[in-house]
């Protein structure tokens, strides 16, 4: 009896977490952390500050998004040359858009939101309201179906260049 009790208690220690984990694997909402391990740091392309799109479609390796690594004494550096036409601010913007895509599309369509404020800051635009209005106005072009976050960023920067109100309030380094 005592032996069985012990076995039961031991299993009891394992089962609930195992069960919940099995539930998670059965396709229920899997925690993002499992899909996107923050451990897979890497920086690539165009020297420091460039981005590598991770193994899953539309996801980004985090450290690149933070420019030059996170500072934890564990980052690998690889080399590459794509998307070097955007400068540091542009690369940061592209990786931010990629990592926050679903909310960026929503807030650009609304013309307001935290991601709008963040991108305005990254692209050195002082007037977030004008920035939001113009992103909304040019939504169809900037977030056209099928283009990636790099291209979206290029189009945003082109919009800034070609819109007088934005050009004057942004000092985006090209």
């Amino acid at each position: 009896m005592k032996g069985l009790f012990r076995v039961i208690v031991l299993m009891a220690l394992i089962m609930p977490v195992a069960f919940a984990n099995a539930q998670a694997k059965r396709g229920k909402k899997k925690p993002m952390s499992e899909e996107m391990s923050g451990q897979g740091y890497g920086v690539a392309g165009c020297g420091l500050g460039s981005i590598v799109f991770g193994p899953k479609t539309g996801w980004v390796q985090i450290v690149a998004a933070t420019l030059n690594g996170t500072g934890v004494q564990t980052f690998g550096i690889t080399t590459g040359t794509s998307n070097c036409d955007m400068g540091e601010g542009g690369l940061f913007a592209a990786s931010f858009i990629e990592s926050n895509r679903e909310v960026v599309t929503k807030e650009f369509a609304r013309g307001r939101g935290e991601t709008v404020d963040s991108l305005a800051y990254i692209l050195r635009c002082n007037d977030t309201q004008v920035f939001g209005d113009k992103m909304k106005e040019n939504y169809g072009k900037i977030l056209e179906n099928g283009i990636d976050s790099y291209e979206t960023t290029r189009r945003i920067m082109k919009t800034i260049e070609s819109t007088p109100e934005l050009k004057s309030s942004c000092s985006t380094v090209g």
Partner: protein
């Protein structure tokens, strides 16, 4: 012959000469390049070694190795035999080979290596080899200050400076993410720290661009059984990793629809500086991860205590700790929390948006959210109304399909969202969404995690009734009858729940049940989603019927069903499912399967008074199938402030397959 030999000798001598010169040249180049600086180095070296000897002597005289600041910076804990051991389990982390258990040796080694400008071997493979000043800036700064020494030869630390430049915080914020029952590592919530960038004081950018500091385990197995076991017994390594805060917001707020509560901390500028430096130090540290005790809740407190030695937060929590406990330790420290900010999950935003819709708009929203083309159906509304409805539709699409959208696994949903977005972009900018936060929602005001109770009354068994005394202890966390403040409504998680009974006339003391986990979600069906209600039990229960005269059986049950809220405060639910039980003392089959059904009614009459009842039907598939009915009816009165040590009185009638109990119970939280 002789000529060849001579030539050979000459060649040999030339090679020897070249090799010697080359090796000297290499040795010279690995030291600072010029002769002048080599001389200067010799000069400072002898000055340094005097200073070093003085520093070490003074440090030992002042007993700096016994000081709280030092012990906390190296994460030393007292052992039972009044020694010390560091929580840091990476043996390469320490400067001294005895560093993990000897604070004095570590301190002396730190000073020694520091003054000698020794490049320490890296503690983790990919890290560069750094000197003490660059690897342990927090330690060094503190030592120099305590010893009143102006560092004569500071090192240049490019990686450290780059890190400091990227972090540049003006303050830190403790972030609590709410309970999430679908992920075992998040059942009890999660805690992380956010470093607030200096520029935000000028209103630049948003919190999303700040750095979050996360402590978590590195799981090395996907096998669920091993994952659970290893996570609990310290096989996994845990470490601190900085991540962009937006990553955490997307993970918690969007993917898992959890609310985030952000507590801005009042830390002095030098404490914030030490926090950043100490984080840098911890970059090469790992700790053995223990799910119940040395987890994120513990290590974040340890981090804060290392940065601000005036704080004594770990003293306030139990030996086992969960995120809400740590949060409360911080919140109850006078003056530590400057302000609280609530960040609503997608679900909450959706619910808030829905409540701002007019009745026409509500009808439109409910009609269109399932439609392939919601835009067409809203055309009859005014543009401002259309915008409101489409904003709600967008939040709804995100809430229900976040994973599919991010990983592009459902083209239908992706296309639908794009159509709604294009339409939304043509409509006017809407009003900012304002979400009401009630005091009662604050997690730091929730009831404590532990609860014990004592009951007295009459209980009966096959031989009649007798006086009974029950004692119960539950280490975590919350059931539906407990005070609601700060918890998810309709959700319950109980862990380490043990009840014993003393039958006085029978002179019998017994274990009534021990549940390792008892969890349930009884959220009523609502317009938001039609999630089923469920319940999961895992533990050991006492059995007295045809299965055995009197024994303990291991029990696992998983029930599913539905619940509704017909009137405010009234909950009605029905659950059904299989139960497995096993005991060596069962009369016939040792492992029995049963079908279990439960029906329950809860009525929360007021904040202070509630009644509830539950009936259970069990069909046990033994060699002879038999049925078993039980029922419980309770009424409960809660007293006191949930945030302190509230207590309650409960009166219970239970009927277990004909055996009746009448009990009066006193419950108290700890």
């Amino acid at each position: 012959m002789q000529d060849d030999g001579r030539m050979l000798r000459q060649c040999f001598l030339i090679i020897l000469l070249v090799a010697t010169v080359a090796s000297f040249a290499r040795a010279a180049s690995s030291a600072p390049s010029s002769a002048a600086s080599a001389e200067a180095r010799v000069a400072t070296a002898s000055f340094s070694s005097d200073l070093k000897r003085q520093a070490i002597a003074r440090a030992l005289e002042l007993k700096l190795d016994e000081r709280l600041e030092w012990l906390r910076l190296v994460h030393y804990r007292k052992t039972t035999l009044s020694g010390w051991v560091s929580d840091i389990d990476n043996p390469l982390y320490f400067v001294s080979p005895d560093g993990q258990r000897d604070p004095r040796a570590e301190l002396v080694a730190t000073l020694d290596a520091g003054f000698e400008h020794v490049r320490l071997p890296p503690a983790i493979p990919q890290a560069p080899a750094m000197t003490v000043r660059c690897q342990y800036p927090a330690r060094w700064k503190w030592l120099m200050r305590e010893l009143a020494i102006t560092d004569p030869a500071p090192d240049v630390c490019p990686e450290l400076e780059a890190f400091r430049g990227r972090m540049r915080p003006s303050s830190a914020t403790l972030v609590f993410s709410g309970y999430y029952i679908n992920n075992p590592s998040s059942i009890f919530g999660h805690l992380l720290l956010r470093l607030n960038r200096r520029e935000r004081l000028l209103g630049k950018g948003s919190e999303l661009l700040d750095f979050g500091v996360n402590y978590g385990a590195i799981a090395t197995t996907e096998n669920p059984v091993l994952y659970a076991l290893f996570g609990m017994i310290g096989v996994f390594k845990g470490n601190f990793t900085p991540l962009p805060y937006y990553y955490k917001v997307r993970e918690y707020s969007d993917a898992e629809s959890r609310d985030l509560w952000e507590y801005e901390l009042n830390l002095a500028p030098d404490e914030v500086e030490r926090l950043v430096d100490h984080l840098w130090e911890l970059g090469s540290a790992y700790f053995n991860y223990y799910y119940f005790s040395k987890n994120c809740a513990f290590h974040l407190l340890a981090l804060l205590e290392a940065a601000a030695p005036r704080l004594h937060l770990i003293d306030r929590v139990h030996f086992y700790v969960m995120p809400a406990d740590s949060l409360k330790a911080v919140a109850h420290e006078p003056g530590l929390v400057a302000k609280v900010h609530y960040r609503a999950s997608t679900l909450r935003q959706l619910q808030a948006r829905y409540s701002t819709l007019s009745s026409d708009e509500k009808r439109a929203f409910l009609a269109v959210r399932g439609e392939k083309n919601p835009v067409e159906k809203t055309a009859s509304l005014e543009p401002v109304g259309q915008a409101r409805v489409l904003d709600a539709v967008l939040d709804d699409i995100d809430y229900r399909n976040f994973h599919d959208l991010v990983f592009k696994t459902n083209p239908f949903v992706t296309e639908k969202k794009q159509a709604v977005l294009s339409a939304r972009a043509q409509l006017p900018v809407g009003e900012e969404l304002k979400i009401e936060v009630h005091d009662a929602d604050h997690p730091e005001l929730s009831h404590p995690s532990g609860r014990w109770s004592f009951a007295a009354g009459r209980a009966s068994d096959a031989d009649g009734s007798t006086t009974a005394l029950d004692g119960e202890i539950r280490f975590a966390l919350h059931d539906i009858t407990d005070p609601l403040d700060g918890y998810l409504p309709y959700s319950q998680v109980e862990s380490w729940l043990i009840r014993g009974r003393w039958w006085s006339e029978r002179r019998r003391l017994e274990l009534r049940h021990f549940y390792l986990v008892r969890a349930a979600s009884l959220a009523p069906l609502s317009w938001v989603d039609k999630k089923p209600a469920w319940r999961f039990d895992f533990g050991v229960d006492r059995v007295r019927d045809r299965r055995c005269i009197d024994c303990l059986a291991g029990r696992a049950a998983f029930l599913g069903g539905a619940s509704v809220e017909p009137l405010a405060g009234v909950l009605l639910y029905a659950l059904v499912g299989p139960t497995g039980e096993t005991s060596a003392d069962f009369n016939r089959e040792k492992f029995l399967l049963s079908a279990e059904g439960r029906i329950g009614l809860r009525y929360r009459i007021s904040h202070f008074w509630q009644i509830d009842g539950e009936g259970e039907w069990r069909r046990v598939f033994d060699r002879e199938t038999f049925d078993r009915l039980s029922a419980v009816a309770k009424t409960r009165f809660d007293f006191g402030d949930a945030a302190l040590k509230p207590w309650a009185l409960e009166f219970e009638y239970a009927n277990e397959a004909g055996n009746e109990d009448f009990l009066a119970r006193y419950l108290r939280f700890f």
